[in-house]
C-alpha cells in the first residue's frame, strides 16, 4: 500500500466502550467553560496538558517550544471553544490544534535556520565533523520527512514513547486499527531507509 493510500477505517473515528463517557464528560466541561466556569477550564487543562505536551514535543523537538505550543494551543482552543462539537471527545480536537501549531513553529524555525545558514551564522556542527552516525541520522531524518505528519507522530509515540495503539487512537481521535495501519506504513518507510543505508 502506498504512502498516500486511504487508511483503513476511513476517517477512523474511535468507537470504543467508554468513549461516550469521555465525550460526555468533556462536553459538560466545555459547556461549563463557555458559561464562564474557570474550574471547568482548569479541569480540561489538567486532563489534556500532558498529552498535549507530548504531541507538541514530538512536533517541535524541545521542551521550551513544546511548552509554548501547549499554552498557545489551549488559548486558541478556548478562543474557538464555541465551534467545538459537544458530544465528541475534547482531546483529539485539541491535539489537532497542537499539531498545527507545532508544524507552524517548526516551519518558521526551519526558515530561520535556512536564513542563518545562508548568512553564515549557523552554530550547528558540520556534517563532515561527524562520522557514519551522522549519515545514518541524515537518512533517518530524510525518511521521517517522507512521512505524513500523522504517521511521524504515530511511529514516534509508539516506538519511542511506548504508547499503545489504543492510547494513540484516543489522543488523535482514530481507531486502534487505523493507528496500527499508519504505524505499519511509517515503519516500512523508515526500515527501508535504514536498510538502504546499511546496504
Amino acid at each position: 500500500m502506498s504512502e498516500t493510500a486511504t487508511p483503513p477505517g476511513g476517517s477512523g473515528e474511535a468507537r470504543r466502550e467508554g468513549e461516550v463517557t469521555v465525550a460526555d464528560r468533556d462536553g459538560t466541561l466545555v459547556a461549563r467553560t463557555l458559561a464562564g466556569d474557570s474550574s471547568a477550564c482548569d479541569t480540561l487543562v489538567q486532563l489534556y496538558m500532558r498529552s498535549a505536551f507530548l504531541v507538541a514535543f514530538r512536533g517541535v523537538g524541545n521542551r521550551e517550544d513544546a511548552e509554548d505550543v501547549v499554552q498557545e494551543s489551549f488559548v486558541a482552543a478556548l478562543e474557538h471553544l464555541g465551534s467545538f462539537e459537544i458530544g465528541r471527545p475534547f482531546g483529539p480536537w485539541l491535539m489537532r490544534v497542537v499539531m498545527n501549531r507545532a508544524a507552524t513553529l517548526r516551519r518558521r524555525r526551519a526558515l530561520r535556520d535556512t536564513e542563518e545558514e545562508r548568512d553564515g551564522v549557523s552554530t550547528r556542527p558540520s556534517a563532515l565533523d561527524e562520522s557514519e552516525r551522522a549519515d545514518l541520522r541524515e537518512h533517518l531524518v530524510r525518511a521521517l520527512g517522507m512521512l505524513s505528519e500523522r504517521q511521524r507522530l504515530i511511529v514516534t509515540l509508539f516506538d519511542v514513547d511506548d504508547r499503545t495503539s489504543t492510547e494513540i487512537g484516543e489522543m488523535l481521535g482514530l481507531s486502534a486499527g487505523t493507528v496500527r495501519w499508519h504505524l505499519h506504513e511509517a515503519r516500512r518507510t523508515l526500515r527501508s531507509a535504514l536498510s538502504s543505508f546499511a546496504g
Binding site: G9, G61, R63, Q71, D159
Partner: protein, 139 residues
C-alpha cells in the same frame, strides 16, 4: 474504499497490538530524544495557561457571551416599556398640510410652464421692489 482496503481495514482492526521495534525505537530515540516530561513544571505550565486563558476571557465577545443571558431580557423589557409609553402618549397635533411655492402649486395644478415661470418671475420682482422701497431712507 476498495475490497482490498476493506480487507485491510478489518485486518488492522482485529490485529493485536504490534510488537515494539527495539532497533527502530533506539534509532529514533537517539535522533529525537525522550520527551522530557519529568523536567516540566506542570504546576507552572498550568498556571501559565490559566493566565493566558483569563486574558482570553476578557475579550469583548466573552463579555457579550457572559452577559447575554442578562442583557437579552433587559433589552426585551426596555423595548416593551418603550412601545407601551409610545402607545399611551397623547397624539401630536395634526400638522397643516404643507403648501409648496406658488410656482410648484401652479405647475402641479396644470398651468403651462411658461405661465408659471412668468408668475414666479413677477412675484420675485414684486418682492424685490418691496424690499428696495423699504430700504430707501425716508425723505
Amino acid at each position: 474504499m476498495t475490497d482490498a482496503d476493506a480487507n485491510d481495514a478489518g485486518r488492522w482492526e482485529v490485529a493485536g497490538e504490534p510488537a515494539r521495534d527495539a532497533e527502530l525505537g533506539a534509532r529514533l530515540r537517539e535522533l529525537l530524544g525522550d520527551a522530557p516530561a519529568e523536567s516540566v513544571d506542570w504546576i507552572a505550565l498550568s498556571a501559565r495557561i490559566a493566565r493566558a486563558a483569563s486574558a482570553v476571557e476578557t475579550s469583548w465577545w466573552s463579555y457579550v457571551a457572559r452577559w447575554n443571558r442578562t442583557l437579552v431580557p433587559v433589552a426585551l423589557a426596555a423595548g416593551i416599556a418603550g412601545a407601551v409609553a409610545l402607545w399611551r402618549a397623547p397624539a401630536p397635533p395634526a400638522a397643516e398640510p404643507a403648501r409648496g411655492p406658488d410656482m410648484v402649486t401652479a405647475v402641479i395644478g396644470g398651468t403651462p410652464s411658461t405661465d408659471a415661470a412668468r408668475t414666479f418671475a413677477q412675484s420675485l420682482v414684486s418682492v424685490a421692489t418691496v424690499a428696495t422701497v423699504a430700504s430707501e431712507p425716508e425723505e
